[in-house]
Every structure is written in structure tokens, then in C-alpha cells.
């Protein structure tokens, strides 16, 4: 039952085939059973059960709030949740309980959704592996899938099977793992340079980064204000459209959200592919792109072409400057955004209190990890009066050129761009940590951050399994505020590729804590 889509479980709830409480309890037990994945930082068992009970009451009275009523969801731990600890996986905010809900969280709850808990991430969402938070790395559920296990047995007989577990990608790895391992039906991530799409691709789920300005950032603890967008992780494109319909719209608390009213949409099952024009940006043939992913990408292009769509190679000439500009703009805003963490109003405060300055310094040294401190340092360097023009202004100018590249391509008649989401499938943790956070981020955000620089909507759709039996996703980038078109294309594509469902027997074998009868219940 837990493996169905949000849409299906919503129907089951409405038909009374399952009750919200039952569903919530099942998810909570499954979260416990998969605790070793480290997907959740906080499980809000008590409030979730209470919300489920309230939902049940609404179903009983026939007064449900919407499609999400009674549906268990998870939220990345950088969204403020009233009364529930919100840590950003950082010592700085350990123990911090926000007094208010992020707008997106409020919207979910207003629709009757059941909030199971807060998911793991890289500290302050700075990373691409979900490996650099104080609560430890998130494990990719595919590490324990039958598909991966069967293939890897031949390669590594000698190795300890547990040391071979894979990273989820990041920084929203906890949310991706939660959706992928069936502990919830939808999860919120955040996407600044690819933080929703990257782990979604590595975990074989759908990851949507909507247009900047479509969804409120109020309550999202910022990484880069001018690029952050709340992301949606679901098991299929239809589910993403449902959640988008709930979250989108103007918020007076976020001045960067657009005023135009948003009309929720349902996706059609049939499209006339002959009217479609798909662009293939040639600059995305980047060094390091795995042959497998490349092959899959071109196969996908063929798929559209065979269906009658126009598939055209296009150029986004400034792509190669994108990642370095992203780095400058990102660190500059990080330096600014992190200034508020001084130990005075909330969060960690050092016991060193000789002077206010000493307290600031010690608090920030103790509260932030090396990655955060490194970005603050370089960001402040770029913002210094003597460097501002050379770095920040220049990066902003190039950002404009990158955004214009997209404008030009879409103006030429392209509807949607098709690109890889990541260079390759995911890798074991032991491999991943051989490179530092900065190197990894630069590699892993390569195909994703340009959409953030330009503010465009983008979605990754799980496409096929690699030779190792691991998911590979492809990315569609759409025109600004044309989510309906983007998702329609994504849904059509999803239907064609028939991505296999994760076989989690291996995961259950791994989980020693789960009782036999529970186990049978999950997979009945």
C-alpha cells in the first residue's frame, strides 16, 4: 500500500480503503524500520498522529480539506515548522524550535497533509551528497535494492556489504530517500543549484524545481535568496503537479513571489508530440558525462523524435561560465545570510563571553562546519569593496547572459530543453568523500544550477537503471511560469520510459529491528 502514488492513496482514503491514522502509523513504523537510512532528523510522531486523527474526523464527516488530506508528507529540515525543531543539520540551530510555519508548510497543513517529520540534508543545504550535516550522511535506499544488489554481487564479493552503501546526492537527500523508500508520499526539498533534482535523480524519484517566484520562500532558511526555490519530490509527475497546485501562488510575506494568480492544473494523458519542439543544448556534453547517461540522453531525444516531435540541437553559449558564477553569487549571499547567526537571539551560543566579539567568533566557529565557514569566508572576500566589481558585479553580469541564453533559445521556438540531470549514477559514500565538498558541488550541480541562475522551472524524471542497477534521471527545463507545459512533457516521457520500481527486499533484510509480522504487512 505504501508504494502507490499520492494520487492513488488519496483515492484509497476517499473510498475508505484505508484510514488516515492507519496510513500514518504504517509510515511511522516504516520510518523506524528504515532508520539506518538516516533520512529523517526529526520524526514528529505525536503531532503526525494527532493530525491524522483530525483528518480521520474530517473524512468521517465528509468535510475533507483537499487532495492532500490525510496524506503523510516529509519536509526538509531547512523549512521552519512551528513547534518542531528545525536544525538545518547544523550545530548552530540544534534545538531551535521555530515559532512559525513556512508558508509552504502551512499550505500543506491547511490542505490536511500529515507532517511526519523533518528530513536530513547537508549543513544549511550546502552540498551535493547529503553527507555534510551534523547528523551524518543519508544512505541511498537503492543501496539495498534487489536491482543494485544483484549487479554488485559479482563486482565485490570480498567487500563488506555495508561499506558499499551509496550516497543519495543532495542536499535534499533525506527527502529523496524518504520518498524513494516509501516512508512518505511527497516531500519538500529546496533547490538552489540542483539540491532537489540531484538527489531525486540519484534516488529514482521525480524532483521538480518550480519557476523562481511561483512558490513562497517565507520560512525557508535561505542559502541563496535569489536562487532558492522550494522543491517537490514525488514518485511520479502527476503527484508533483498536485503538490505544486497546493503550494504555488503569491505570498504577501515573500515580495519576490509573482502577483498573478496560479491555477492548479491536471495533466493530460495524451499530447500531440508533433507540435512539440525539444531543444538539446550542445554545451551539456560536458566532460565527465558518463557514456551511459549520454546514451540514455540521446535515446530520449530519439523517443521524442520518433513520436513526431521536432528535436533540435541548440546552443547556450555561456553555460561554461555558469558554475563559477554560481559559486561567486552563492558564497556572497551565504556570507550575508549567515551573518544573523551570532548567538544572540536564537541558536547556539558559545560559553566564551569575554566580550561580544569573542562570543560572536566562538559561536560561529563552534556552530558552523568547515563548508559553511569556507563559503562565508570566500563570500565576504568577494563582497569587499576592492573586489566587489571584479567578482560580484561581473558574476551578476554573466548571470544575466546565462539567463538571456535561455530567453533566446525559447524565443527561437523551443518548448522544453532536454538535458542530463547528473553526470552519472550515484557512487558509494567511500568514493564520494574522496573529494571535498566544493569539488563535488561543482561537479554535481553542473547541469542543474543554470536553471537556478535563470529562475526557470526544471524537473528530473527517473529514466532507466544503469548497468550497476542504479537510477539515472533526465532533466527537462521549461519556460518561466510554464509549469503545465513542462510537466505535461515530463509526464508523457515518464509514461514512455517505464522506470522500474525499487525492489526493497534488500532493505528489509538489512533492517534487523523490524518484526516479522510488520515486515509482511509492508510488502503485502
Amino acid at each position: 500500500m505504501l508504494r502507490v502514488s499520492l494520487r492513488e492513496i488519496s483515492a484509497a482514503l476517499k473510498e475508505g480503503r484505508v484510514s488516515p491514522t492507519e496510513l500514518c502509523q504504517r509510515c511511522l513504523s516504516f520510518i523506524k524500520a528504515t532508520k539506518f537510512l538516516n533520512a529523517y532528523i526529526t520524526v514528529a510522531e505525536e503531532t503526525a498522529l494527532k493530525q491524522a486523527e483530525e483528518s480521520e474526523e474530517r473524512y468521517r464527516r465528509g468535510q475533507i480539506l483537499g487532495d492532500l488530506d490525510g496524506i503523510p508528507v516529509a519536509v526538509k529540515d531547512n523549512f521552519s515548522t512551528a513547534g518542531i525543531e528545525t536544525t538545518c543539520a547544523s550545530n548552530m540551530l540544534k534545538g531551535y524550535i521555530p515559532p512559525y510555519n513556512a508558508t509552504v508548510v502551512k499550505k500543506l497543513l491547511d490542505q490536511g497533509a500529515v507532517l511526519l517529520g523533518k528530513t536530513n540534508l547537508d549543513e544549511f543545504a550546502m552540498g551535493s551528497g547529503s553527507t555534510d550535516g551534523i547528523f551524518g550522511p543519508v544512505r541511498n535506499p537503492w543501496s539495498y535494492s534487489r536491482q543494485y544488489r544483484e549487479k554488485s554481487v559479482h563486482n565485490s564479493h570480498t567487500e563488506n556489504e555495508d561499506s558499499n552503501w551509496l550516497v543519495t546526492g543532495g542536499s535534499s537527500g533525506g527527502s529523496a530517500a524518504a520518498v524513494s523508500s516509501f516512508t512518505c508520499f511527497a516531500a519538500l526539498g529546496s533547490d538552489t543549484g540542483g539540491s532537489t533534482r540531484n538527489p531525486a535523480a540519484h534516488c529514482g524519484v521525480v524532483g521538480l524545481k518550480p519557476t523562481y517566484g511561483l512558490i513562497s520562500r517565507h520560512g525557508l532558511i535561505p542559502l541563496v535568496n535569489s536562487m532558492d526555490v522550494p522543491g517537490i519530490l514525488t514518485r511520479c509527475v502527476d503527484d508533483a503537479a498536485i503538490v505544486l497546485g497546493v503550494l504555488a501562488g503569491h505570498d504577501p510575506k515573500d515580495s519576490t513571489t509573482v502577483q498573478d494568480p496560479f491555477k492548479p492544473f491536471e495533466l493530460t494523458n495524451f499530447i500531440d508530440a508533433s507540435k512539440l519542439c525539444i531543444g538539446i543544448p550542445k554545451e551539456y556534453h560536458a566532460p565527465g558525462l558518463s557514456s551511459e547517461t549520454l546514451a540514455l540522453w540521446s535515446k530520449a531525444a530519439d523517443l521524442f523524435e520518433n513520436a513526431g516531435a521536432k528535436v533540435i540541437e541548440v546552443s547556450l553559449p555561456h553555460t561554461r561560465y555558469s558554475i563559477i558564477c554560481y559559486h561567486v553569487l552563492c558564497t556572497a549571499e551565504v556570507a550575508s545570510n549567515m551573518a544573523r547567526f551570532d548567538g544572540l537571539e536564537y541558536g547556539h551560543r558559545s560559553s566564551m563571553d569575554k566580550s561580544t566579539e569573542v562570543m560572536y567568533a566562538a559561536t560561529r566557529r563552534e556552530g558552523f562546519n568547515d563548508v559553511v565557514r569556507g563559503r562565508i569566508l570566500s563570500g565576504n572576500y568577494f563582497l569587499l569593496k576592492q573586489n566587489y566589481e571584479t567578482y560580484f558585479i561581473k558574476a551578476q553580469k554573466v548571470r544575466r547572459l546565462i539567463a538571456n541564453d535561455f530567453v533566446n533559445v525559447f524565443r527561437s521556438g523551443i518548448d522544453v530543453l532536454l538535458t542530463p540531470t547528473t553526470l552519472s549514477d550515484t557512487i558509494p559514500y567511500v568514493e564520494f568523500i574522496k573529494e571535498d565538498n566544493r569539488t563535488r558541488s561543482a561537479q554535481d550541480d553542473i547541469f542543474t544550477q543554470a536553471a537556478n541562475m535563470a529562475g526557470l522551472p526544471a524537473i528530473t524524471v527517473p529514466t532507466a537503471l544503469s548497468e550497476k542497477g542504479l537510477p539515472i534521471g533526465l532533466q527537462f527545463i521549461g519556460r518561466a511560469f510554464q509549469e503545465q507545459q513542462l510537466l505535461t512533457v515530463a509526464k508523457w516521457f515518464e509514461k514512455q520510459v517505464k522506470f522500474p520500481m525499487i525492489q526493497l527486499q534488500g532493505l528489509m533484510d538489512h533492517s534487523h529491528t523490524v518484526c516479522q509480522h510488520q515486515k509482511s504487512a509492508f510488502f503485502s
Binding site: 520562500r217 550575508s336 565576504n380
Partner: protein, 551 residues
């Protein structure tokens, strides 16, 4: 008396003799011309620095003024704005910089800034931007202040102000200072340092309140000018209602940039004088700083570019401990606020919700009369002197009081103004009362002046009535007149008898007058008045006495 009140309230206190008394600034001049020379106090006796010191010094003064916007809520949050509320009782999540909170611009604050910009003859930028200015301070919770560094809401304006010049300070001149820009920004919280317990307490009630920073070009050359300019700005803000501009409550805070140089030479190194939170000390602080720099330079020293605080107890400026030298504020565009777009009638988009736009023309059409216009109108309408019009505007509510009295009395406004400025304002000042607190209403004063005008009472009787009225016992002027029998003596015979008695009792004075000293007549008139307790018509008394003496 009127003139002295005028000076006291319009201008900051007069300079100390020998220090800056010589710090006058010649006749009215335009800013393009060289400022008037300043003689340093020390130069009078000796000239230690040789020939150079013979050249006069000129001072250059520019001002940065922070005016707190009068609004119900803060610049970017819904928290209330209120003076002297319990600490940390007016703090939203945004004001405390809770992670994830975002600024939402308060429309009222934008309108106040536009209004102020228009009143100061600025061009209003239809597009302006917000920036972050970073520095760590305990009362700045976000670690940065949101301000308008690159593109402020208003630029290139001017402010005309008047001040008294000349040896007797009896000549009014009008000067103009250019306004460089007006920018919107957030106020900080307040730090309360408890040295004994080595603690700092933070009150965030003020954090995030909207400020207009008005930057004045260095077109002034003395504390007196600066004080007059600030006073005029204060009046304009109060007229517009864009700021209450009460200095004592910190709603108007002035920083002054001061330098001195010899005419024809490059401008000197400037210092910034901060913490001038009272109108009284503004001129004194600047003039002190000018003299300090002159002395420093004449003694062969140098002026260093530093921030100094005015110590009002010691009456001098002292260097402020700079926070680890020069700060780099690492300015950055505020990413959470889109550009502030204003429109006018021409650019007003069709079918727009008026809640979503601020229309410059709409605001311009509704600007109230500014103080300068009101003064001209007062002079034209009532025939009063220009300096009287200044006093009427300088005292909050006095103009309205005056106009109410004029409306309710037959007395000529030119005579009314004397009663208002000399008698009433004198009394209020003496008792430290505001016009609103006056125990005598405009109606009662008008009644009283009517009694005087109709010849029911004499002016000295009127003053006696006023003495009673101050007690505010609710009696009308007429009641008091009747009770105290203060009506003029209408009986000519009675008056003649009294005069006769006075003449007979003061033969010495009579002789004096007859010898050709007519001034002594006034003494006799006074004696008659004393006898009648002011109830005699002085004109009549004079006639009677003159008749008697010529017999």
C-alpha cells in the same frame, strides 16, 4: 521680547563670546560663492603660525539626518511603532531576524519618503533599489541593515532656510542647502550597557523602524546655519506628517561633517560629529568642532578623518573609539526585495489596483502648504512682520491659536500678534508650557481683546484680567471684569476729580513739566492709573492732565 523668543526658538543657542561669536557668515550668498571668512578666537592677540594665520578660515558643514518615519508599523514588518513601549514588546519574527523571515515593504513608509522628497524639491526616482550594509553589532540582529546605497528613492533637492544675521540679529536672510539624496532604511535596536555587571541588554523595539536618511551637501559654514536648516527640515517633516521629528525622542538624529580650510585652497580633512540628539546642542557642537580644528591647525597640528561624539555635559567633541578601524560594509543588493517602482499619472498602468502602486503625482497634488508658503500667507493676510510669521510656525499650534483669536475678535491682527507673542507666549515659556497646554483658550483671549477693543477696559486692566485667566478657574473675561470692577471709568467728572487730586498732590512734578520737561507727564498718568487700578482711559487722562497743567 518677540524678537528674542524668535531667535531662541529658531536658532540654536548663541555662541559663547570670544569662542565663536566672531563666527558670523556675511551677507546672504549663494552656495557657489565662497563662504564668509571666520576669524579664529586665538588670532586676535598673537599670531603664532606666522603669515598663514592671517588668512581667514572658512568652515564647511554637511549634514546627514536620520528622520524616523511616522507610521503605524515598521519598514519591513507588521510590528507597531511606538515610543517608550516596554522593552522588546514590539518585535516581530522578522525584526528579531529569525531564520527564513523576509522583508515586506511598508507602503506608508514609501509614501512618506516620496512626500518628503517632493517637499524638498527632489527628483523622485521611479525605480530605486535596496541594499544590505553589513556589520556586526548586538542591536543589529540580521548582521546587516537594509538601506538604499546605490539608487535611493529621491535625489537632487534643496532646502531653503532663514536665519537672523547682523550685529543685532535683526536681519533675516534666506539661504539654500542642496539635498543630495533621501534614502529609506531600517533603524537599529538599542543597546543598554550595564558596566557594573558588564552586561549589554538589547531592546529591539526600534529595530526595523523606517528611517529617511536626508543627506545635505556641505553648503553650510556654521553651527547656526546648520541649526536653522535642521529646524526648517523639522518643520517641513512635521507639516507633512512624514515624521514627528521630535529630537528628544530620537526621531530626528543629526550627524555633521565638519572641515575647515583657507579660501581658495582645497577642502580640509573632515571629521564626523555624531550623537547630536538635541536642537540646543547642534550649533554648539558644530561650532566647537570648527574652533577645535582651527586651533589644531594653527598650532601646527593636523585634523584626522575620524568620528567624534559631542559631549553635551562638557560642551565639546571627543573622539569615538572606532570599531577596529575602517569598516568595510560589504554592500550587496537585497535579494528579497524587488526594485521599488513608483509611477506617475503618465506611467500609471491601466486597471491597476491602487493598493499596489504609489503615484508620485497623486502625492504631489495632496501636499500641504509648506512652512515657507504658510509664512508668506500669514504676512500677506494679516499684515504681520516676517519674523512674527517664523515664531508662529516655530511653536507647535501657535499659528492655529493666532488664527482662531483673529477670527473671533474685531482687533486688528497686527495688534493681536503682540498679545500672542509678547504676553501669551512669554507666559507659556516662563511656565514651560506648550500652546496646547495654555490655560487660556483662544476664545477667552479673543473675548478679552474684544473688551479692550470696544473700550470697555484699558490695556493694563486687560493684563490684570489675563492674570486671572491664567488661573483657569473657568471665569470668562467679562465675569472677571465685572467682579473686579475693572471697567473704564466712564464718568468724566469722577476722572477729572482724580486728576485734580493727583495734580494737587504733586506740585514738584507739575513745576518740572511747566519748566519744559513733558516726560514727567507720564509719571502723573501712571499715578492716576494706580489710583484707578488701571480703569482710566489713558488717552482721556492725558487730555485732562494737559488741560489742567496748561491752565
Amino acid at each position: 521680547m518677540a524678537a528674542s523668543i524668535l531667535r531662541r526658538s529658531l536658532l540654536a543657542p548663541r555662541c559663547r563670546a570670544g569662542d565663536v561669536a566672531a563666527l558670523h557668515s556675511g551677507p546672504s550668498r549663494r552656495r557657489a560663492q565662497a563662504p564668509g571668512p571666520i576669524a579664529s578666537g586665538r588670532r586676535m592677540g598673537k599670531s603664532p603660525a606666522g603669515e598663514r594665520s592671517v588668512a581667514p578660515w572658512v568652515a564647511v558643514v554637511g549634514l546627514e539626518i536620520h528622520a524616523q518615519i511616522s507610521s503605524n508599523s515598521k519598514l519591513f514588518s507588521g510590528s507597531q511603532v511606538q515610543f517608550a513601549a516596554p522593552p522588546n514588546s514590539l518585535v516581530s519574527f522578522f525584526d528579531a531576524s529569525l531564520p527564513g523571515t523576509l522583508p515586506a515593504l511598508n507602503r506608508r513608509c514609501v509614501e512618506a519618503a516620496v512626500m518628503t522628497g517632493l517637499a524638498l524639491n527632489c527628483s523622485i526616482n521611479k525605480k530605486s533599489l535596496f541594499d544590505r550594509k553589513h556589520y556586526f553589532y548586538a542591536d543589529l540582529p540580521a548582521g546587516y541593515q537594509i538601506t538604499q546605497q546605490r539608487l535611493p528613492v529621491a535625489v537632487n533637492g534643496s532646502l531653503s532656510y532663514s536665519l537672523c544675521v547682523g550685529g543685532k540679529k535683526n536681519q533675516m536672510v534666506t539661504r539654500t542647502v542642496r539635498i543630495k539624496q533621501i534614502q529609506l532604511e531600517q533603524d537599529s535596536g538599542k543597546s543598554l550597557h550595564d558596566d557594573t555587571r558588564s552586561q549589554t541588554l538589547i531592546d529591539l523595539n526600534r529595530a526595523g523602524v523606517g528611517l529617511m536618511e536626508v543627506v545635505m551637501e556641505p553648503d553650510m559654514s556654521s553651527g547656526e546655519e546648520a541649526a536653522a536648516a535642521v529646524r526648517e527640515l523639522q518643520l517641513i517633516l512635521q507639516t507633512l506628517g512624514s515624521s514627528q521629528a521630535i529630537m528628544a525622542e530620537g526621531q530626528l538624529r543629526v550627524d555633521a561633517n565638519v572641515s575647515v580650510h583657507h579660501p581658495g585652497e582645497a577642502l580640509g580633512v573632515r571629521t564626523e560629529v555624531k550623537n547630536i540628539n538635541s536642537a540646543r546642542f547642534l550649533a554648539r557642537a558644530i561650532d566647537y568642532e570648527i574652533q577645535r580644528q582651527i586651533k589644531e591647525l594653527e598650532n601646527g597640528g593636523t585634523v584626522i578623518n575620524e568620528t567624534r561624539a559631542f559631549d553635551y555635559k562638557l560642551g565639546c567633541t571627543i573622539p569615538m573609539r572606532d570599531k577596529e578601524g575602517k569598516q568595510d560594509y560589504r554592500f550587496m543588493p537585497e535579494p528579497n526585495l524587488p526594485p521599488l517602482i513608483l509611477c506617475d499619472n503618465k506611467s500609471l498602468p491601466a486597471n491597476t489596483n491602487h493598493q499596489h502602486v504609489v503615484n508620485i503625482d497623486w502625492i504631489r497634488e495632496r501636499l500641504p502648504d509648506l512652512p515657507s508658503v504658510r509664512r508668506v500667507k500669514l504676512v500677506e493676510q494679516y499684515g504681520i512682520l516676517p519674523e512674527h510669521s517664523f515664531t508662529l510656525l516655530n511653536e507647535d499650534g501657535l499659528m492655529e491659536f493666532f488664527e482662531n483669536v483673529v477670527r473671533q475678535t474685531q482687533m486688528n491682527p497686527k495688534k493681536v500678534i503682540g498679545w500672542i507673542l509678547n504676553v501669551m507666549l512669554g507666559y507659556l515659556k516662563q511656565h514651560n508650557l506648550t500652546v496646547q497646554e495654555s490655560p487660556v483658550s483662544s476664545l477667552f483671549l479673543a473675548d478679552l481683546l474684544n473688551l479692550l477693543e470696544r473700550g470697555t477696559i484699558s490695556s493694563s486692566a486687560a493684563k490684570q484680567v489675563l492674570e486671572e485667566l491664567w488661573k483657569a478657574e473657568g471665569k470668562t473675561p467679562l465675569q472677571i471684569v465685572e467682579e473686579k470692577k475693572l471697567e473704564l471709568i466712564q464718568d468724566q467728572q469722577e476722572l477729572e476729580q482724580i486728576c485734580q487730586a493727583v495734580v494737587e498732590g504733586h506740585q514738584e512734578e507739575v513745576m518740572e513739566i511747566k519748566k519744559g520737561n513733558p516726560k514727567v507727564l507720564n509719571k502723573l498718568i501712571g499715578l492716576v492709573q494706580r489710583t484707578t487700578r488701571g480703569r482710566a482711559d489713558p488717552v482721556l487722562v492725558k487730555q485732562i492732565l494737559e488741560k489742567r497743567l496748561s491752565q
